[in-house]
């Protein structure tokens, strides 16, 4: 089968790439774009470490052949991170000790970003559901769930101070 040209907006910049059929988004991000913050844990939709935002929704990038998302807006952990300092979700994870080995962390943060984009005021159950596709082998989840809720508060505070 022939390669095809796919265009995606990755972290705000439009990119075109020549890909073999079936090339997944995680492969493109890591191999072709050098965005290694997105992890590839299992390559079969079981661990969530590859979670990124596609058109604002948290998705597992190892399950997405890029031809099927032509024209989509993709945001990765690199795009979420501001030029200076940290994003409120990152701050919440850092200060809440919600990361140990860190392998799950970018996926957890992107899953949180997806949740807060559609539900800025989540309940504890909402937070649990939002990260239930993401495996963490270190923390026991408690600190992560707390960090998701703390991130929601921080984002609301940031929005309030922007509005004022």
């Amino acid at each position: 089968m022939k390669h095809s040209v796919v265009s995606l907006t990755i972290n705000g910049t439009e990119r075109q790439m020549l890909v073999a059929p079936g090339t997944t988004l995680v492969e493109v991000l890591r191999e072709n774009q050098g965005l290694a913050g997105t992890r590839r844990g299992c390559d079969q939709g079981a661990c969530g470490t590859c979670t990124v935002l596609v058109d604002g929704k948290a998705m597992m990038s190892c399950l997405l052949p890029v031809e099927t998302i032509e024209g989509a807006r993709v945001e990765t952990i690199e795009g979420l991170t501001p030029m200076q300092g940290l994003h409120p979700i990152q701050e919440a994870f850092l200060e809440g000790f919600a990361t140990q080995c860190g392998f799950c962390t970018s996926g957890m943060i992107m899953a949180t970003a997806g949740l807060l984009a559609r539900n800025p005021n989540p309940s504890r159950d909402d937070a649990v559901r939002a990260i239930s596709g993401n495996i963490c082998r270190c923390t026991g989840y408690e600190a992560i769930i707390d960090a998701v809720l703390d991130a929601a508060k921080r984002m609301q505070a940031a929005q309030r101070s922007e509005a004022a």
Binding site: C42, A46, F97, V128, I131, C138, A143
Partner: protein, 336 residues
């Protein structure tokens, strides 16, 4: 059907470090031109926090801010030797090595400062904020940055140190079996509250209450996180992790780790933990190891809680619904 509640207790004594043919770890430390301190190790930080704790130990010993310390790890080809990150030995062994290296480097740092300030090194103190000054005279001093610059560009010296901690090999006394296997022991106790569904055999862990005596908690937040994460692993060992049984036959079983059962974020228990500090005599700043032990006591505590709830004594892990139902049947006199 009924959910039966039960409570179980279990305690653990856990050795810090091991003793096969001697158990060494080494550390090297050197100052950069601008007064940063780089510690080279072969030890791995896989999330347990040795980088953080090692930098704390070095900063405390050197008398410089934590931010001035960088831990460069881990390259086992080129770094100083480390036996590895296991046996809950990291904080104790590597921490001791780092402390020793930092002491040697501190001595050089103080002697360079003494030369520059034209005072006796014994009269100098560090303020922990990046300055070295004459004891009692904060104005008569200089910054660690200037000390490092002077060492590099005026005196032609390296501010460096070597650290090596080794637990020597302990032979077994053949007559008695006696030996000295570890360096110190940490202790913990877990109380597990569970409920057991007497119709399905499902077990839910409702709450875990833990007390840990781990010597000095070098970083209480990390130690606490280790307890929570370890308890989760304990629940996972106790109730989930197996590739058996599968029905109707083995062909329906998992084929790789992604199909291996583990508790998810929705299956965690409420956790309440306290840390008790009784400094050890030989750990860095009195620390002991808190590592593997955190996954230990939760397992027998859950088994005991199941027994308390429904009278079934499970003797092999994990405590699957199948085993519990067979146990309940046996109690009811039903053959299976």
């Amino acid at each position: 059907m009924a959910w039966l509640k039960g409570r179980g207790v279990a305690a653990v004594n856990y050795p810090t470090g091991m003793n096969l043919g001697g158990d060494p770890s080494q550390a090297l430390i050197h100052a950069t031109t601008t007064g940063g301190f780089v510690i080279t190790l072969s030890s791995v930080d896989l999330g347990q926090g040795i980088k953080t704790v090692g930098a704390q130990i070095a900063a405390e010993t050197l008398g410089v801010p934590y931010e001035n310390v960088v831990i460069d790890t881990a390259d086992t080809d080129t770094g100083p030797h480390c036996m590895g990150t296991f046996a809950s030995r990291g904080t104790h062994r590597i921490g001791n090595a780092i402390m020793m290296a930092a002491r040697e480097a501190r001595e050089v740092m103080m002697s360079v400062a003494a030369t520059e300030l034209e005072v006796d090194p014994g009269d100098l103190v560090t303020d922990g904020k990046g300055r070295i000054h004459v004891n009692g005279a904060p104005d008569k001093g200089m910054s660690v940055v200037d000390v490092a610059l002077a060492a590099h560009f005026k005196l032609g010296k390296t501010i460096s140190g070597r650290g090596m901690y080794m637990k020597p090999k302990s032979e077994v006394v053949p007559e008695t079996g006696e030996m000295d296997p570890d360096s110190c022991q940490a202790h913990a106790c877990t109380v597990a509250d569970v409920e057991v569904d007497d119709e399905t055999g499902e077990v839910r862990v409702l709450k875990m209450t833990n007390a840990y005596e781990i010597g000095r908690a070098m970083n209480p937040a990390l130690a606490h996180q280790q307890i929570v994460g370890g308890a989760w692993m304990g629940i996972s060992h106790a109730l989930y992790e197996t590739t058996e049984p599968y029905y109707p036959d083995r062909a329906h079983g998992p084929t790789d780790f992604s199909q291996y059962l583990m508790p998810g974020p929705g299956d965690i228990a409420e956790m309440d933990s306290v840390i008790i500090e009784r400094p050890s005599s030989n750990g860095p700043y009195g620390a002991k190891g808190i590592g593997e032990m955190t996954a230990n006591s939760p397992i027998p505590a859950i088994a005991n809680a199941i027994f308390d709830a429904c009278g079934v004594r499970v003797t092999s892990m994990p405590f699957t619904p199948e085993k519990i139902l067979r146990g309940l049947d046996a109690l009811r006199g039903i053959a299976n």
